[in-house]
């Protein structure tokens, strides 16, 4: 197996709150992340497979870039995550974002010789999350 990765960036706002909790409970649980704030997120999508003998590519990274742009970046960049359809009923923690992105991308990147391996999201350079599917 070879693992190839495409990295993209988007800027978005969010706040963390559980709709079933009171304002006081949410502030207690999420602290300053309960405030409306935002990030420059970095998204790394990794696909694994075997190189195609004709091209020497596992997958053309321009093709992977186009899928990520169409399915993810175009919908979350310069947006308020809590009001986007893909996060309806989902608290936009980085963990949940990785799982939502995985579900969206998994079928789209599947080809004869390659499949989605992982989704990694950097919320800041100090905080990041990796998901490889399976939950």
């Amino acid at each position: 197996m070879i693992y190839i990765t495409r990295k993209e960036q988007f800027s978005a706002s969010h706040l963390l709150a559980n709709a079933e909790l009171t304002a006081e409970e949410n502030l207690e649980l999420f602290g300053k992340c309960n405030n409306l704030h935002g990030h420059n997120y970095y998204l790394e999508v990794t696909v694994c497979g075997t190189p195609d003998t004709k091209s020497g590519y596992v997958m053309d990274l321009k093709y992977l870039k186009d899928i990520i742009t169409e399915e993810i970046i175009g919908k979350v960049d310069h947006r308020f995550l809590n009001e986007i359809e893909m996060f309806r009923n989902v608290i936009p923690t980085t963990e949940n974002m990785a799982m939502v992105f995985w579900k969206i991308l998994s079928d789209r990147v599947q080809t004869g010789n390659a499949q989605l391996y992982s989704v990694k999201i950097y919320e800041t350079e100090k905080n990041f999350v990796l998901y490889k599917g399976g939950l």
Copy 2:
């Protein structure tokens, strides 16, 4: 002169809109930046002066860090910039943010042998602004 710099980070949300324009005019003028979104901002505050003979410092960068934290980071990190007092009647473009931060910091960092030289803000790694006072 020696120029010393302290770099800090904060995560905030904002949207760009001129209160005197209509919603359509703001969308036309600011495009996707008119949407509620956010960034991990990097702030570089540069002080210039001569090294103190006793310490060999122009200024203790821990002291500069404390000023920046108290005056800026503590007020903008994990916040919605448009609703913060320092941006009342100010569109929070990176240019205006640099000018507002300059006004706040200028007196605070003035010492016998040192003074504020510049405020630099990275909105993203691709977009940044430098202000040296004087407007």
Copy 3:
């Protein structure tokens, strides 16, 4: 499983020497690393688990940051590693540092749904070490 990471930085000095070797043997074995020198180390602590349904977190990264700060950063930042209790009888190579930090953190980060997955240390941007336990 989801893997969440918190990255912290510390600045420390060290020198590499095996107490059972002569000065000449240590210089031969460790070269310039046998001299007293130092680094800005970056430490990445990764915890894996399942997101809590109430918070959407595997673990609050602020909680993880507090543990790392209390157990590691507070003890090694701006210190001479060879004279710190945790490196008594341990040559402070990056490999050994990762193993020592793992032992310190392993129990502390264990919760109902999460556990320590790896400790990664960058000695410089060109030299880094990853440890996942088990030795």
Copy 4:
């Protein structure tokens, strides 16, 4: 197991083309990558093993650096990859480069307590490839 990594950089030119295809087919398949262009590549070579009790090293990273420099960097830095012996009959995609480098390094880094674990190549900061052997 402990995983230790050495990162090196080289600047090279290449173009992607399959010798069995026509000029039109290559342009269709590879797009702008069919043009003669170049990159600052970053190469991360990871070795895994157990620390030597005498030195506390899995492997002296200076020794690993010397192998990488001799076997790889000295042959590809400031060169046109398509004309280098190691890429004879190989399209120099990042995937193929990782596999070629693996074959070259695998025996060289093998020692009593350590072996090659992975080769990672960044073609740009947005596009990178990881190979762990086995194809």
Copy 5:
């Protein structure tokens, strides 16, 4: 004055040679840079001026991005610099590239309240050049 910067990236190949010198003289003068090789270049274009009162912008960085893309990136990305029209009779050292880009951009970014201030090019992260006009 406020200084705003847009950073873009391009990947290109080049070789350094003076057409008036022999092959031996060029190899002596330029060393390994006389070989065909390539880089991921980073280009930072800085414009200075006063913020527009309506928008709070010195210049919309999306507008600056479009100019840079049209005038520079679209012409040099994934290309062999020595064969591009803008480098006809110009050795593509980083110094000369900065001067050529300055001439191309200077008029295009001139507006009522803003003008080109500097062009900065990173050939690698260790080698970079800044030009502010005037030669």
Copy 6:
């Protein structure tokens, strides 16, 4: 004028103390920087001048690299700064280091068409100092 920069890295240990003060006074003045610790320093040396018509270089950056390596890196890398001859009677704050390096480099990089413009030192990614001569 064109400004060209070469960036180098070194790892060193130091502690801040004024020999004329007591241990208590030094601890009070320098805080944790009074402890023996260390850093991965980044040094950026900028030379300004006009490009040579034959080479298109202000100065061959390989030549500048060799000077920096010989005069600075070879003397400070993997060393304890307080015991190096160039810091005899100088507290190794980043400010003082920049001034000492300037004095060492200024004559060495002077050529017919180029001269030293600035010395910049990053002690950490958050703390850095710039010196342009004149004190």
